[in-house]
C-alpha cells in the first residue's frame, strides 16, 4: 500500500475547520482506490490520526504512523509543522504544508523535506495587497489597512511582509492582535470603527473568524473591504453572521464550489457508495476542496515519483523526489476532472514553494456560495524572496544545515 | 507576697518571679468587647488557670498572648521587657507554645510529623542540606526524632505514631496536640481546654502529664479549663473572667470563695 497519513482534527476548538479538510483529503484517495484502483495500480491507505490541533498529539500521531511507511505528512497546523521539520528531515520523509507552516521552507535548499507549494502566507499577504492595488488602479498610498490577526505564530506570519509592502506602496498599516480563542473582539472592532481603515485584512482561525465577521457586520464595516486569508474564508466562518456577511472576501490558492467533473465521481464512487470519510455533507465546501486539492497534489507527486524511480511501490524518500519534480499543468488538472482548480506550477529543488499565485473569493449570502472573483495572480517575489532568504539562512546557520541542492 | 520574689509551694516546687505580664488589655471585634482592660501576671514555673463562663474572652486572651489577636489597648510584658508588636511565629520563637480549643492539628500529616513540627525552633538546617539529606539535615532529624519519641512515649501514643491524625478520635487528638506543644520545649505553655471531651480517667492522665511537665522542666503553664476539679487541684493561681472583665484573681481557695465568681461562674460553691 501507499500510505498517506492524515493528521486531522475533528475535535477541539478548531474542529469546524479540521473536519471538512480531513474529509476532502481522505475522500480523494478513496476515489482513487475505487475508481482507478489506487495510484499506478497500488492501493492507497489513509490512516487517520486525531491531533486536536495539539502539538503533543501531533508528535504522537507522527511517531505512530511513520512506521507504517508514511509517504508524506500534511500536519495541518503551524505548530506541528515546526516540530516535524527537523524530525521529517532526519527520518527522510517529506512533508507538505499547503498554505500554512513555515513560509521560508519554500527555500528547498535549506528545507530539503518540507514543501509548501503552491503558496504561503507571505504570498497571501502580498496577494491581498496586490488585489487592493488592482481595485484601486494601482495606487494605495495613504490608504489605511488594518490587520486583525490571531495572536500566535500563525497570525504573526504576514506582519513582516506587510511591513515591507507598506514601505513599498505607502499605505498605512495598523495591527490588531486577538488572543486565542477570540470570542471577545469588542476593543478591536471599536477601534476599527473609529479609525475607519479603508481595508481590513484578517489572519484568523477558529471561532475568531466567526466573531470577527459578526462584529464587522455589527459595526457596519463594508464587507467588500474586509479580506481574510484562506483560513478565514470558509462557509462556517460566514454563516453565523447570516445575510450581513454578504460580500466578505477571502484569499485562496485553489478554486471553490463543486462545478468540477471530479465531484460527480466523488458522489458516485465515494459518497453514494457509503465510503465517505465524514457525513458526506461537506463535499464542495471550501475546506473540503482544500483537502481534496492537497490529496490531488500528493497523488500527482506520488505518480511523478513512480515515474522517476520506475517502481510502483515507492518509499518516502522517492516520494520526496516526486514532490520536488512535481509539475501541475492545466492539462493534467483537466484530465483529473479538476480544470482550473488551482494554478499550474512546477516545483524545483530550490523552490519548494511553488509560484505563489493568489486568487480572491467572495461570499454571496443569498445563495450561500463562494465564488472566485479574481483569478490566481502572481505576488511580489522581490519582497518575499528576500524575506525567505533571510529567514531560511538564519535557520540554516543555527542548525548547521548544508546546502541540499548542490 | 511580692511578684518579684521566688517562693516554694507546699509540695516543694519553686515558683519564680513574674515572666509574663498582661497590662490593661482591651480587645474589641467591631462592636463586641471580648476583653476589657484586663491585667494579670504569670510567674515562672507556676500553673496559672484562667476560668470564666462561655464567651468570657479566655481563648481570646490566649490569642493575644500568642500574637494572633492584636489588642486595641494594653501591653504584654515578657521577661521584664515590653513586647513589641510581633507576628505569631515570632512569639513562638520566644518559646511560647500552645494548644487550641478547637483542635488545630495538621490533619493531613501523621501523628509523628505533627509532633515533629513542634520542634521547629530546634531544627534549622538549610534547604540545600535537606534537599540532599546529608550533613546537618540528617543529623538534626535523627536527634530531634529521639526527643520526639520520648514525648510520644511519655504521652503513650506510640501505637498511633504513623496514623494520619484526621482519623483519630477526639481525645487522642487532644493528646497529640499536647505532644506537639511539649515537643517545642517551651518556657511557657498555653493550654486551651486540654481536657474537654475526656473522662475522668483520661483527665487524670492529662493532669499527670501537665504536672510532670511543670515539675521536671519547670515549664510555666497557663491553663483554661471548665472542669473545676482539675482547675482547683492543679493551679497555683486562678484568674476569673466574665464578659471580658476580670472578676477575680488569686489562689484556688480565694477564688472559690469569691462571691462574684460564684455568681458568675461556679453557680454553687465548689468543695
Amino acid at each position: 500500500d501507499l500510505v498517506f497519513p492524515s493528521l486531522s482534527y475533528r475535535t477541539g476548538p478548531y474542529a469546524a475547520g479540521g473536519i471538512p479538510f480531513a474529509d476532502g483529503y481522505t475522500d480523494y484517495f478513496t476515489l482513487l482506490n475505487e475508481r482507478d484502483g489506487g495510484i499506478g495500480g497500488v492501493k492507497v491507505s489513509v490512516p487517520e490520526c486525531e491531533t486536536g490541533y495539539n502539538t503533543e498529539k501531533g508528535v504522537e500521531c507522527y511517531e505512530s504512523t511513520k512506521g507504517e511507511g508514511a509517504l508524506v505528512y500534511q500536519p495541518l497546523s503551524t505548530g506541528i509543522t515546526y516540530q516535524l521539520i527537523p524530525k521529517t528531515t532526519a527520518d527522510d520523509i517529506p512533508m507538505h504544508t499547503m498554505g500554512y507552516g513555515r513560509t521560508s521552507a519554500a527555500n528547498g535548499d535549506v528545507f530539503s523535506h518540507t514543501f509548501n507549494y503552491p503558496g504561503s502566507y507571505w504570498n497571501g499577504a502580498s496577494g491581498g495587497v496586490n488585489y487592493l492595488l488592482e481595485t484601486n488602479g494601482g495606487d494605495i498610498s495613504g490608504k489605511k489597512i488594518a490587520l486583525v490577526y490571531h495572536n500566535s505564530a500563525y497570525g504573526k506570519e504576514p506582519i513582516r511582509t506587510l511591513e515591507e509592502l507598506q514601505k513599498k506602496h505607502g499605505f498605512e498599516l495598523s495591527l490588531l492582535p486577538v488572543d486565542h480563542p477570540g470570542q471577545e473582539q469588542k476593543s478591536q472592532w471599536l477601534q476599527i470603527r473609529r479609525e475607519k481603515p479603508d481595508y481590513v485584512m484578517m489572519w484568523g482561525w477558529g471561532v475568531m473568524n466567526q466573531v470577527a465577521i459578526q462584529e464587522a457586520a455589527n459595526i457596519r464595516f463594508p464587507m467588500e473591504n474586509f479580506i481574510g486569508i484562506w483560513w478565514s474564508g470558509a462557509e462556517h466562518d460566514v454563516l453565523p453572521a447570516g445575510d450581513k456577511a454578504n460580500g466578505y472576501k477571502a484569499l485562496t490558492f485553489h478554486n471553490v464550489g463543486r462545478d468540477f467533473p471530479v465531484f460527480a465521481d466523488i458522489q458516485k464512487y465515494v459518497v453514494d457508495a457509503g465510503k465517505a470519510a465524514g457525513a458526506g455533507d461537506q463535499v464542495g465546501n471550501v475546506l473540503y476542496n482544500r483537502g481534496l486539492y492537497a490529496a490531488m497534489l500528493a497523488a500527482e507527486a506520488a505518480k511523478t515519483a513512480q515515474e522517476i524511480h520506475g517502481t510502483k511501490d515507492i518509499t518516502a524518500s522517492m516520494m520526496r523526489d516526486g514532490m520536488e519534480a512535481l509539475e501541475i499543468t492545466e492539462e493534467k488538472m483537466a484530465a483529473l476532472g479538476m480544470p482550473n482548480f488551482g494554478p499550474s506550477f512546477s516545483v524545483s529543488c530550490e523552490n519548494h514553494g511553488g509560484p505563489g499565485l493568489v486568487g480572491v473569493t467572495q461570499w454571496d449570502a443569498s445563495s450561500k456560495t463562494w465564488s472566485l472573483i479574481s483569478d490566481f495572480k502572481a505576488t511580489d517575489i522581490d519582497v518575499i524572496g528576500a524575506l525567505i532568504a533571510e529567514d531560511s539562512g538564519a535557520y540554516a546557520s543555527e542548525n548547521n544545515i548544508a546546502s541540499n541542492c548542490n | 507576697m511580692s511578684t518579684q520574689e521566688s517562693y516554694v509551694t507546699e509540695d516543694g516546687r519553686t515558683i519564680g518571679p513574674t515572666v509574663m505580664e498582661m497590662k490593661n488589655i482591651t480587645l474589641r471585634f467591631g462592636g463586641v468587647k471580648a476583653i476589657t482592660d484586663i491585667s494579670f501576671d504569670i510567674r515562672e514555673g507556676e500553673i496559672r488557670a484562667i476560668i470564666g463562663p462561655n464567651g468570657a474572652g479566655k481563648s481570646s486572651m490566649l490569642n493575644v498572648i500568642s500574637g494572633f489577636y492584636v489588642p486595641q489597648e494594653g501591653e504584654v510584658w515578657y521577661k521584664g521587657k515590653k513586647r513589641p508588636p510581633m507576628k505569631p511565629y515570632q512569639v513562638a520563637e520566644q518559646g511560647i507554645a500552645r494548644t487550641f480549643q478547637n483542635i488545630a492539628l495538621f490533619e493531613g500529616m501523621t501523628v509523628l510529623d505533627n509532633v515533629m513540627t513542634g520542634r521547629i525552633r530546634q531544627m534549622n538546617a538549610g534547604l540545600l542540606s535537606q534537599a540532599i539529606w546529608k550533613g546537618k539535615a540528617e543529623k538534626e532529624e535523627i536527634a530531634n526524632r529521639e526527643a520526639v519519641e520520648k514525648i510520644i512515649d511519655f504521652l503513650e501514643i506510640q501505637a498511633i505514631r504513623k496514623t494520619p491524625v484526621g482519623r483519630l478520635p477526639y481525645g487522642l487528638k487532644k493528646r497529640v496536640e499536647l505532644a506537639r506543644a511539649l515537643a517545642a520545649e517551651p518556657s511557657i505553655l498555653l493550654l486551651d481546654e486540654p481536657m474537654a471531651g475526656m473522662n475522668v480517667e483520661e483527665k487524670e492522665d492529662m493532669s499527670r502529664f501537665i504536672l510532670d511537665m511543670n515539675d521536671e522542666f519547670g515549664t510555666t503553664i497557663a491553663l483554661i479549663e471548665h472542669d473545676m476539679g482539675v482547675v482547683m487541684d492543679l493551679s497555683d493561681r486562678v484568674v476569673v473572667m466574665d464578659y471580658g472583665k476580670k472578676i477575680g484573681d488569686g489562689t484556688p481557695d480565694e477564688v472559690r470563695s469569691n462571691q462574684a465568681v460564684i455568681d458568675a461562674y461556679l453557680g454553687v460553691a465548689h468543695d
Binding site: 470570542q183 471577545e184 459578526q214 457525513a279 | 487550641f100 478547637n102
Partner: protein
C-alpha cells in the same frame, strides 16, 4: 477632542456590556459554589452542552447520530422537523434538569463530605465527560443559533441604531452599542434579581448556604443534600443555557463556547465566589477595566500614547486587575469573609 471623549465613553459602555456577558457565565459558578462549596470547573462545558442541545432540538438533529451510524451503518442525521425556539427552550431546560439529576446521582451523592479540592476534581471529570458527550450527541460542527420568540422577533443583533443616531445628533459622532448586549444586560439583571431573592429570602437559600459550609452538619439537621444539589445544579444549568444562548448567538455554537469559562474566572474572583451581585459588579469592573486598559495602554490611545503595549492585553489584564483587588480584599469585593479563627 470631544470625539476622543465620546470614543472613550463608547469603549467604557461596551466594556460594561462585555462585563454583563462575562457575568452571565460567572453567575453559574457562584450559584454552585455558594450552594455546595464546589468550584464547578464544568460550568463552561455546561453552557456549551446547553446551547448545543437547544440548537440540536430546534433543528431536529438526531442525537448520537454519528455513533448510531458508525455502529449500525445507517445514515441518519436529522428528523427533518424544526421546533419553535420557545418549545425547544423548554425541552432544553428539561434536559438540563435531567443532567442535574444525573450529576447528583452518579457523582456527588458519592462524594458527600469530601474536601473542596476533591469536589473540584470531580467537576474536572465532569467537564471531560460532558465535553466528549456533547460532541457525541450533537457532533462537533459549528452550529448557528437563531433564537426567535415569534416570526421576525428574534434575539436582536447588530448596532443599536437609535442610540447611534441620538449620539450622532448630539455629538456629531456615532455611538456603538450592540443590541445583543442590551438584551443580555436585561436578562442578566432579571436573573440576578431572581437569584438574589431566592438565596436570601427562602428557606432553600439558607439551606444552600448551610450545605456549602458543612455537608455533614447539614445532613444532620435534615437538609437533603440530594434535593439541594439537584435544585442548584438545575438552576446553574439554566444559567448556563442563558449564557450559552447569548454567546452562541454571537459566535456560533461550537467547542470554543466552553472556553468562555476562562473569561468568567477573574470576574468570579473579583466579585467574590459567594456573591451573586458580586458576579455582576465584578463582571462590569472587569469588562470596563480590560477594555479601557486595552484602549489606553494596549493600543496607546490615551495620554498621547506614551504607553503602547501592542494589544491583546485583555486576557492577562483581567486577571491582574482581579489580583489587585484581591490583595486589598482577599475574599473578593462581596465574597464572604474567610473566617480565620483558632
Amino acid at each position: 477632542m470631544s470625539e476622543q471623549i465620546v470614543y472613550a465613553l463608547e469603549v467604557f459602555a461596551n466594556g460594561l456590556m462585555s462585563g454583563v456577558l462575562y457575568a452571565l457565565v460567572a453567575l453559574g459558578f457562584v450559584l454552585i459554589y455558594k450552594a455546595s462549596g464546589i468550584f464547578n470547573f464544568a460550568q463552561g462545558v455546561m453552557a456549551l452542552f446547553a446551547a448545543m442541545t437547544l440548537v440540536g432540538i430546534q433543528n431536529g438533529q438526531v442525537p448520537f447520530a454519528h455513533l448510531i451510524n458508525a455502529v449500525l451503518g445507517t445514515h441518519i442525521h436529522h428528523f427533518g422537523w424544526h421546533i419553535h425556539s420557545v418549545l425547544a427552550l423548554i425541552f432544553t431546560v428539561g434536559v438540563m434538569i435531567l443532567l442535574a439529576v444525573a450529576i447528583q446521582r452518579f457523582v456527588f451523592r458519592h462524594l458527600v463530605g469530601q474536601e473542596p479540592i476533591i469536589l473540584f476534581m470531580a467537576t474536572i471529570g465532569l467537564a471531560y465527560f460532558l465535553e466528549g458527550f456533547s460532541d457525541l450527541m450533537w457532533n462537533s460542527e459549528i452550529k448557528t443559533l437563531k433564537f426567535c420568540v415569534a416570526e421576525g422577533t428574534c434575539l436582536p443583533q447588530g448596532m443599536n441604531m437609535a442610540i447611534d443616531e441620538a449620539a450622532y445628533n448630539a455629538f456629531g459622532t456615532g455611538f456603538f452599542i450592540d443590541n445583543l448586549d442590551i438584551s443580555a444586560a436585561i436578562v442578566a439583571v432579571m436573573l440576578v434579581i431572581a437569584l438574589v431573592a431566592f438565596s436570601q429570602y427562602t428557606k432553600q437559600g439558607r439551606a444552600m448556604r448551610a450545605v456549602a459550609d458543612d455537608h455533614q452538619a447539614a445532613l444532620s439537621v435534615g437538609i437533603s443534600l440530594n434535593f439541594i444539589w439537584i435544585l442548584v445544579w438545575s438552576v446553574a444549568g439554566f444559567v448556563a443555557l442563558v449564557a450559552g444562548i447569548m454567546w452562541g448567538a454571537k459566535s456560533g455554537v461550537q467547542f470554543s463556547l466552553s472556553l468562555i469559562a476562562l473569561k468568567a474566572l477573574p470576574v468570579l474572583m473579583l466579585g467574590g465566589f459567594t456573591s451573586i451581585p458580586g458576579a455582576i459588579v465584578g463582571g462590569l469592573i472587569i469588562g470596563v477595566g480590560e477594555k479601557m486598559f486595552e484602549y489606553c495602554f494596549g493600543t496607546g490611545q490615551c495620554f498621547g500614547g506614551i504607553i503602547n503595549l501592542g494589544g491583546a492585553t485583555e486576557n492577562w489584564f483581567a486577571y491582574v486587575l482581579a489580583l489587585v483587588f484581591l490583595v486589598f480584599r482577599p475574599q473578593g469585593l462581596f465574597g464572604e469573609k474567610i473566617i480565620e479563627r483558632v
